[in-house]
C-alpha cells in the first residue's frame, strides 16, 4: 500500500518557530490594540497547521507577521534555521496566497503562475508541466490564458493559490484558501490539497474561521482567541482534551453541551445541575488526580459532546424538543436544565417531539471545567 501519512513523515525537525511574538497596533496611541500576545509556536518540517478563530482573534495578524507584511512588535521568528522577522517578505523563503497579495494585472493567469517558478530555473517543458498540474488541481485550466481583471473573485483566489503552491519554498502561507467555492469543489480541493501537501512534505500554515476546513486539512490546529493561543493540538486532542471552556465550546459541530454544576467528591463523585441530569458516579470511575482536582472546586462547568450522549440508556429522562433529520444524521434536542441539550445520531432515529426519552452521560465522556477560570479540570477519568 502506498502509505502517505503524517505519522510516517519525519516531522521532528522544527521548520518554523515563533518565540514570544507580540503585535501591538498603534502602540503609542491612547488605545493600542494588542492583537497577538506572547505567541510561542513551533511548526515541524512537513507539518500542516491551521490558525483557527473568529474575526479579531489574531490569526491573520500572525500570518501577516510570518509573511513579513506586518512588523513584529516583540519577539522572534525563525524559519529553516534563520531569523526572518526583520527580513523583507521576498527574502523569507515563503510562498503565499493572500487576499490583497494580488496577481500581476499585466500577466495572464498562466504567466502569473509561471513567474513564480522563475527562480527554480526549470526547462520550459518542466515549467509548463508544473503549471498544468497545479492548474488542474485548483480547476483553473480554462482560464489560464485570461487576465486577472477578467476573472471572478473566486477564480483569482484559486489562481493565487496555484501560484503559491507551484514554487518551492520553506513555508507555504495560505489565507482562507477555500473562501468562496461552491460546496462540491471545496470538498474536492480539501482532499486534493491535503494529498499534495502531505505527499510533498510542504510545511504550511493556513488561516481559516471554518473549523471544518481546519480539521479536514491540518495536522494540528492552533485555536486563537483574544490574541492568545488557546490550544495547539490535533483534532482528536482538541475534542477529547480541550484546554479550556472556550476551546471546548468552539470546537465541535454542534458545540459541546455545558451545564453549571456544584461538585462533590467523596465515596461518590457527584455533579449537581439545577433541574438537570443526575450525574452521580462511583469514585473509582475517576483517577485520584482527577478526583483531587475536582474536589478543589465547588463550582464547575460540566460538558458532554452531542455525539457522546447515549440515548435510551441510564436513568436520566428528558422531553424531546426537536428531532431534525439531515439525511445522514439526526440532531435531537432535549429540554435539560432550562436549555436545549443536543445529541447527534448517525441514523434516522425515532424520537417524537414531546416524547420523554432516557439518556446517559457516561463518566468517560464527561468534561469538567473550573467555573471561574474556564480551565479544564478533568476529561473522562483523567485530570486535565
Amino acid at each position: 500500500m502506498n502509505v502517505v501519512t503524517s505519522g510516517t513523515r519525519a516531522m521532528q525537525e522544527i521548520a518554523l518557530s515563533l518565540n514570544g511574538v507580540d503585535k501591538i497596533y498603534a502602540p503609542t496611541a491612547k488605545a493600542p490594540v494588542h492583537a497577538v500576545k506572547a505567541l510561542d509556536l513551533d511548526v515541524r518540517k512537513g507539518e500542516i497547521i491551521a490558525l483557527l478563530g473568529s474575526s479579531g482573534c489574531g490569526k491573520t495578524s500572525t500570518l501577516r507577521m510570518i509573511a513579513g507584511f506586518e512588523s513584529v512588535t516583540r519577539g522572534a521568528i525563525s524559519l529553516a534555521g534563520r531569523r526572518i522577522e526583520a527580513l523583507a517578505p521576498a527574502k523569507r523563503g515563503v510562498a503565499m496566497a493572500f487576499e490583497g497579495y494580488s496577481l500581476y494585472p499585466p500577466l495572464s493567469v498562466r504567466d502569473n503562475i509561471a513567474f513564480a517558478l522563475k527562480s527554480a530555473r526549470l526547462s520550459a517543458r518542466e515549467a509548463d508541466k508544473k503549471v498544468a498540474e497545479v492548474a488542474a488541481l485548483v480547476e483553473i485550466e480554462p482560464i489560464l490564458d485570461r487576465y486577472p481583471s477578467s476573472i471572478s473573485g473566486g477564480q483569482q483566489q484559486r489562481a493565487s493559490l496555484a501560484r503559491a503552491l507551484v514554487r518551492p519554498a520553506d513555508l507555504y502561507l495560505l489565507d482562507e484558501p477555500m473562501g468562496q467555492l461552491e460546496p462540491r469543489l471545496r470538498a474536492l480541493l480539501r482532499g486534493r490539497l491535503k494529498r499534495l501537501l502531505t505527499e510533498r512534505g510542504m510545511t504550511s500554515i493556513f488561516v481559516t474561521h471554518d473549523q471544518t476546513e481546519a480539521n479536514a486539512l491540518a495536522d494540528r490546529v492552533a485555536v486563537m482567541e483574544g490574541g492568545v493561543l488557546q490550544q495547539l493540538a490535533n483534532q482528536t486532542e482538541l475534542k477529547e482534551r480541550p484546554a479550556n471552556l472556550y476551546v471546548a465550546t468552539f470546537i465541535g459541530e454542534p458545540p459541546m453541551n455545558v451545564f453549571d454544576a456544584r461538585a462533590e467528591v467523596g465515596e461518590r463523585v457527584r455533579f449537581e445541575v439545577a433541574n438537570g441530569p443526575k450525574l452521580d458516579f462511583s469514585a473509582n470511575e475517576f483517577s485520584e488526580a482527577a478526583r483531587s482536582a475536582i474536589a478543589k472546586r465547588s463550582r464547575v462547568v460540566v460538558g458532554v459532546r452531542p455525539h457522546d450522549v447515549r440515548l435510551n440508556a441510564g436513568s436520566n429522562e428528558a422531553r424531546v424538543a426537536s428531532n431534525q433529520w439531515l439525511g445522514d444524521q439526526s440532531h435531537i434536542a432535549f429540554e435539560v436544565a432550562g436549555k436545549l441539550m443536543v445529541t447527534v445520531v448517525f441514523s434516522e432515529t425515532v424520537a417524537a417531539r414531546g416524547a420523554t426519552l432516557r439518556y446517559d452521560i457516561p463518566s468517560a465522556k464527561l468534561h469538567v471545567f473550573d467555573a471561574e477560570t474556564g480551565k479544564a479540570v478533568s476529561h473522562g477519568s483523567e485530570a486535565a
Partner: protein, 363 residues
C-alpha cells in the same frame, strides 16, 4: 384548508423568465421551506406573495381569499428579511410594535403583544435598545418578532439566518420550528442551506430554474429525489454521479465500474441499455481493503475528517473523483492507497444522463 395557495405563477424581467408556472399549496400551521441555489427566484416569489411585486400570470390565494390584485397592506402577512431591515431611529420595542401601531392598536394592546413575542424570542431585556446597540443575533430576533407581533396568519421569512454566525444559526435552527409552531402561523421560509431546509421545513419546495422541481417531506427528498438537479442540492459532501451503462444480466441489472461488474438489483431494471449517471451518496459507499463481491476498485487520495465523520476522497480507474463518508473519527486506520468501494443497490439512484430524470433506485 390551504392558507397559501399559488396557482401557476409566472414572472419575467427584461433579463428573462424568473418564475414559470409555480404552484404550491400550504396548509394551516405548516412550515414549507422554499429551497434552491441563489438566483433561482426565491426572493422574487416572496415579493410576489407579499404584493410588492406584480405577477405576469397566475393567481395567489391567502386564507382562502384571492389577493392577486390586492395591495400589499391588505394581505395580512408578516415578513422578515435577511438584512433585518429594522428602522434605525426606533427602539427594538417600537420596531416590533410598528405593524400594530400602523394599524391603530391601543397602547396597552401593543405593549402586551410586543412583550409576549419578545419573551418567546428571548429579547425582553433589549426592548429599549436601538438597532445599532443590538448584536446580529438580537437584530435577527427583533426582525422576526416584528414579523410575528401582529399575529399574522401568514408569515414569510426570507433567509432570516443568513447574516448570523454559525453558532447562533445552529441554535436558531433548533428553536425556530417550535417558535413558529407556537405562533400558529402558516410559514413560507426561504433558504439556500439544505440543512436548514431539512431541519425547519415540514415540507421542502425545491426551486430550480424558476420551477418547483419537487415538493415533499425532507426525508423523502433526500432519499427519493425526482431528478439529478434535486439530488445534487442535498448532502455534505454532495452526491457522487458515476457514468455507467447498465445492462440486463443474470439475476438482475448489471453495470461496469472500473472494470468490475457490479449488480444493481431489481430496482434498476428500467435503466438497462441507457446512458445513466449512478447517484451514490458518500454515506452509502463502504470502503474496504479486500475486493469482495460487487466491489469496484478505487484509489484513496486523501482522508479528511468532517465533524464526527471521516470523508475519503477517492479516484475511480476511469479517473473520476468520488467521496465516501464513514461515521466516527476512529477510522484512522484508513490510509491513502488502493481499496475497494461497495454499495447497497437499494441506496443507489439512477438518473438519465440526458434529461437528469430519475429512472431507477429509491422508493
Amino acid at each position: 384548508m390551504a392558507q397559501i395557495e399559488l396557482r401557476s405563477l409566472a414572472k419575467s424581467y427584461k433579463t428573462g423568465k424568473v418564475l414559470d408556472g409555480l404552484s404550491l399549496s400550504v396548509d394551516e400551521g405548516e412550515i414549507v421551506c422554499v429551497f434552491g441555489p441563489s438566483g433561482a427566484g426565491k426572493t422574487v416569489l416572496l415579493r410576489l406573495i407579499a404584493g410588492v411585486e406584480e405577477l405576469d400570470a397566475g393567481s395567489i390565494f391567502l386564507e382562502g381569499r384571492d389577493v392577486t390584485e390586492a395591495p400589499p397592506e391588505t394581505r395580512g402577512v408578516g415578513i422578515a428579511f435577511q438584512n433585518f431591515a429594522l428602522f434605525p431611529h426606533m427602539s427594538a420595542f417600537d420596531n416590533i410594535g410598528s405593524a400594530l401601531t400602523a394599524r391603530g392598536a391601543s397602547k396597552a394592546t401593543i405593549k402586551a403583544k410586543v412583550e409576549k413575542v419578545a419573551s418567546l424570542l428571548k429579547i425582553s431585556h433589549v426592548l429599549g435598545h436601538a438597532p445599532r446597540e443590538l448584536s446580529n443575533g438580537q437584530k435577527q430576533r427583533t426582525a422576526l418578532a416584528r414579523a410575528l407581533a401582529a399575529d399574522p396568519k401568514i408569515v414569510l421569512l426570507d433567509d432570516p439566518l443568513r447574516n448570523v454566525d454559525a453558532k447562533l444559526r445552529y441554535e436558531m435552527r433548533l428553536e425556530l420550528p417550535s417558535l413558529l409552531r407556537a405562533s400558529g402561523a402558516t410559514v413560507l421560509y426561504v433558504t439556500q442551506d439544505y440543512k436548514e431546509a431539512m431541519a425547519i421545513g415540514d415540507r421542502i419546495a425545491v426551486l430550480l430554474d424558476g420551477r418547483f422541481e419537487q415538493i415533499a417531506k425532507p426525508s423523502a427528498i433526500y432519499r427519493d429525489p425526482t431528478s439529478m438537479g434535486v439530488a445534487r442540492l442535498f448532502g455534505d459532501p454532495t452526491i457522487n454521479l458515476i457514468p455507467i451503462r447498465p445492462r440486463a444480466g443474470d439475476g438482475g441489472t448489471l453495470c461496469e465500474i472500473g472494470g468490475a461488474t457490479v449488480a444493481l438489483g431489481a430496482s434498476h431494471a428500467a435503466a438497462a441499455g441507457r446512458a445513466v449517471l449512478l447517484g451514490l451518496r458518500p454515506e452509502a459507499l463502504q470502503v474496504t481493503d479486500a475486493a469482495g463481491a460487487d466491489g469496484f476498485p478505487v484509489e484513496v487520495i486523501a482522508v479528511t475528517p468532517l465533524n464526527e465523520k471521516t470523508v475519503l476522497l477517492m479516484r475511480t480507474p476511469e479517473g473520476q473523483e468520488i467521496f465516501a463518508s464513514e461515521a466516527g473519527v476512529e477510522n484512522e486506520a484508513r490510509r491513502p492507497g488502493p481499496a475497494f468501494a461497495h454499495f447497497d443497490p437499494a441506496r443507489a439512484l439512477a438518473f438519465d444522463e440526458a434529461s437528469g430524470t430519475r429512472i431507477g433506485g429509491g422508493a
